[in-house]
């Protein structure tokens, strides 16, 4: 099963990699964006799809990663590796603190706590003006250069993001099929039973939460490079909600599904809006359609049909 999936994924990656240089600039930009947002969606899937915790604050870690890169790159002219490390570390630290507060709650309460914690980060981004430049945002983040490799062009940056997404997907994929990942699925199924079996449920959930935050932060670091700009808008609730919708659309608990969902939404938003001003209606219709006819998401439905 894993072998077949890896084969499919490899085929998709090769197809993307092959097609990249031949694409016009704008679709390539969108594809890059989809890859980055895809990392964020996959990271949310680790806790939403596999552990059964729906978070409304995932933009927080994404934002911490993005802000870390923006500040390091513009004020300290830090290089790619230092920025990446800082972004991921800070996102991990944020998730580690927030996890302590959030993991005690379940269901709606978990949703509300993560929402509130997400708003804390938004508030900091907005009000800590000396650090974040507040509402104006931080502009002028240069595209990264890695040693002799100049990643500033659209094509090299696309490959960099493709590689990053692939690594993130592989790592998270290994995580969810590991014994630890199976433990998470058990918790999703029945927390009490897992506790009775002797699993440390709290620790499992906490670790999953932090790992998820790490990958969200990783996505955020790429986002800062991609836009060259970070503002409180990237950290706000809408970003968290949109991520949640991407996971729901693609299929929670499938990992590749949320990435696909991210891709679909990025393209819907940017292609459909060219043809009609009512594109929000189409986006809304798509959500409703998926929830009615494929409650387990697109990939979930495809897998379900096969069984």
């Amino acid at each position: 099963m894993i072998g077949r999936r890896a084969l499919l994924a490899a085929a998709a990656v090769v197809a993307l990699a092959a097609v990249g240089p031949f694409l016009p600039a704008y679709p390539l930009t969108l594809l890059t964006q989809a890859l980055i947002v895809g990392i964020l969606a996959m990271s949310l899937d680790v806790i939403l799809g596999y552990t059964g915790l729906s978070s409304l604050g995932h933009a927080a870690y994404f934002g911490v990663g993005a802000y870390a890169v923006a500040i390091m790159a513009t004020e300290r002219q830090a290089g790619l590796l230092a920025c990446l490390a800082m972004g991921v570390l800070l996102a991990a630290a944020t998730a580690a603190v927030f996890g302590l507060l959030a993991i005690r709650a379940t269901g709606t309460y978990f949703l509300m706590i993560t929402l509130a914690l997400g708003m804390v980060i938004w508030g900091l981004a907005f009000r800590w003006v000396s650090l974040t430049k507040g509402d104006n945002g931080i502009a002028g983040v240069p595209r990264p250069v890695l040693g002799p490799l100049d990643l500033s062009g659209p094509v090299p940056f696309f490959y960099f993001c493709l590689l990053s997404a692939l690594v993130a997907w592989a790592l998270m994929g290994l995580l969810v099929v590991s014994p630890f990942g199976l433990g998470l699925r058990g918790i999703r199924g029945s927390e009490t039973r897992m506790r009775a079996l002797g699993y440390n449920v709290w620790l499992h959930k906490y670790a999953a939460f932090v790992i998820s935050g790490v990958f969200a932060g990783f996505g955020g670091t790429l986002w800062a490079y991609y836009n060259g700009f970070v503002s409180p808008n990237d950290v706000q609730l809408v970003t968290s909600v949109e991520t949640l919708l991407m996971v729901a659309l693609g299929g929670p608990g499938t990992l590749i599904g949320p990435a696909l969902g991210a891709g679909i939404i990025v393209f819907l938003k940017n292609f459909v809006s060219v043809y009609t001003k009512r594109w929000l209606l189409i986006l809304g219709g798509t959500y409703i359609g998926v929830i009615l006819f494929a409650p387990s998401g697109i990939v979930g439905a495809l897998r379900g049909r096969r069984r």
């Binding site: 077949r4 694409l23 594809l31 945002g137 060259g228 503002s231 808008n233 809006s273």
Partner: protein, 414 residues
């Protein structure tokens, strides 16, 4: 497996089809393409509509033709977020190959677009975005601002309030973000330089639903209150200011958006008497403005606002520049130079030209809300011709001081 594989192939095929460009871009003799970025969905969609209608109104007036070439307007929705604005700007530049980029509403969008525009070297105009530093401490090479800087109307206004209204002690209350800080900061600077004192500064969060706790703090012994609000918040502030019994006790002054025509028609008598300053008023009594405002009302079914005048005149600005270079928009450097040289003497808002930092020098109007013929309007009660972004200050010294912020200028008399 076959089922899934075929679906996957189908999806891949569809994806590939969607990626192919609809048509290859025409070079040379084709239409002149103008890309407009406006928030057409989301919280700012009403403003976005004003911007769009203003643009189309001018294009229709000139039959969508300049210097013998057709104009093609390509509109993109920014959703009011800078990241989306950037994506759409990339689309307009990379895919549509626009010759001129224009639009944008929020300060953050301006700062986000600036490095991008400078890197792709596409002549760009900002008809609305007012963030001070875009033409001061962080000027962009490829952007010409045809709108205004936030503090620009407030400089003469602060002086006028001190000298003409003879207010001594003023309380400010405003939205807690850059636009609010720059409005209040500009006012404070000239008001205090002319002998006034800001005795209290209150900042309200952007998502405030109830102003009572803030209104209760306002010092009742002050001579006036300066308020800066936008959109829905302006409507609510006005109502609550009256309900708190302040309207008849402490006169209300404000930044231009507090009584802008985009919100004024929805206000009641509570707004009457408020004095604000801006580079436009729909009630400016010139033939050009009457013509513009009447035509806009006919087209949009609502009052002309500063946003609609901004894109109306902004589009004319672009057209004048294109005319000046005989329609050869492919020469980007020439187009940019032409955009900087444009001078309009008879815009609805009055005469405009840009200074060496690409910011307009224009007339500032002090307006008082009055009810004329059953409708509220911003009656002009004082005008300041040819006001630049630095007002009477030396530009170099001005830019050495920090940008107006929450804490600058400091509140010395609080």
């Amino acid at each position: 497996m076959t089922m899934r594989r075929s679906i996957l192939l189908l999806l891949l095929g569809l994806g590939a089809a969607a990626l192919l460009p609809a048509s290859s871009p025409a070079q040379g003799g084709g239409p002149i393409k103008i890309g407009l970025l406006a928030p057409l969905s989301g919280a700012f969609s009403a403003t976005g509509k004003d911007m769009l209608v203003g643009t189309e109104q001018y294009l229709d007036e000139i039959g969508r033709t300049v210097a013998g070439r057709k104009i093609e307007l390509i509109v993109e929705d920014t959703e009011g977020t800078p990241a989306t604005a950037l994506t759409k700007a990339r689309k307009l530049v990379d895919q549509d190959k626009v010759h001129v980029l224009t639009g944008g509403l929020l300060a953050s969008t301006g700062y986000a677009l600036q490095p991008f525009v400078d890197s792709v070297r596409v002549p760009t105009t900002f008809p609305v975005i007012a963030a001070d530093d875009l033409t001061q401490r962080k000027p962009a090479r490829w952007i010409v601002r045809t709108g205004w800087t936030t503090s620009q109307p407030m400089h003469p206004f602060g002086e006028w309030v001190a000298k003409t209204l003879k207010h001594k002690r003023i309380v400010t209350i405003g939205m807690d973000y850059a636009f609010g800080w720059e409005t209040v900061g500009g006012f404070q600077r000239t008001f205090e330089d002319n002998g006034g004192q800001i005795v209290q500064k209150i900042w309200t969060p952007l998502n405030t639903n109830d102003f009572s706790p803030f209104l209760a703090q306002i010092r009742r012994d002050s001579d006036a209150v300066l308020a800066l609000f936008v959109g829905r918040l302006a409507l609510q502030f006005m109502k609550q200011y009256e309900a708190a019994g302040l309207k008849d006790r402490v006169p209300l002054l404000g930044g231009g958006t507090t009584t802008d025509e985009s919100v004024l028609p929805q206000m009641g008598d509570e707004a009457i008497g408020a004095i604000t300053a801006l580079h436009y008023s729909a009630a400016i009594d010139t033939p050009q403005n009457r013509k513009f405002a009447t035509a806009f009302e006919g087209k949009a079914g609502k009052s002309a606002s500063y946003y609609s005048e901004a894109t109306y005149t902004g589009t004319r600005w672009i057209a004048e520049a294109i005319k000046a270079i005989g329609g050869r928009v492919e020469d980007r450097d020439a187009l940019l130079a032409a955009l900087r040289r444009v001078e309009i003497k008879d815009a609805p808002r009055g005469p405009i030209a840009v200074d060496q930092w690409n910011n307009p020098v224009q007339t500032i109007y002090v307006r008082k809300v009055e009810k004329v013929g059953g409708k509220l309007q911003n009656t002009v009660i004082a005008t300041f011709p040819a006001v630049g972004q630095f007002y009477k200050y030396n530009p170099d010294e001005y830019m050495k001081a920090p940008l107006y912020s929450r804490d600058y200028p400091p509140c010395k008399h609080c």
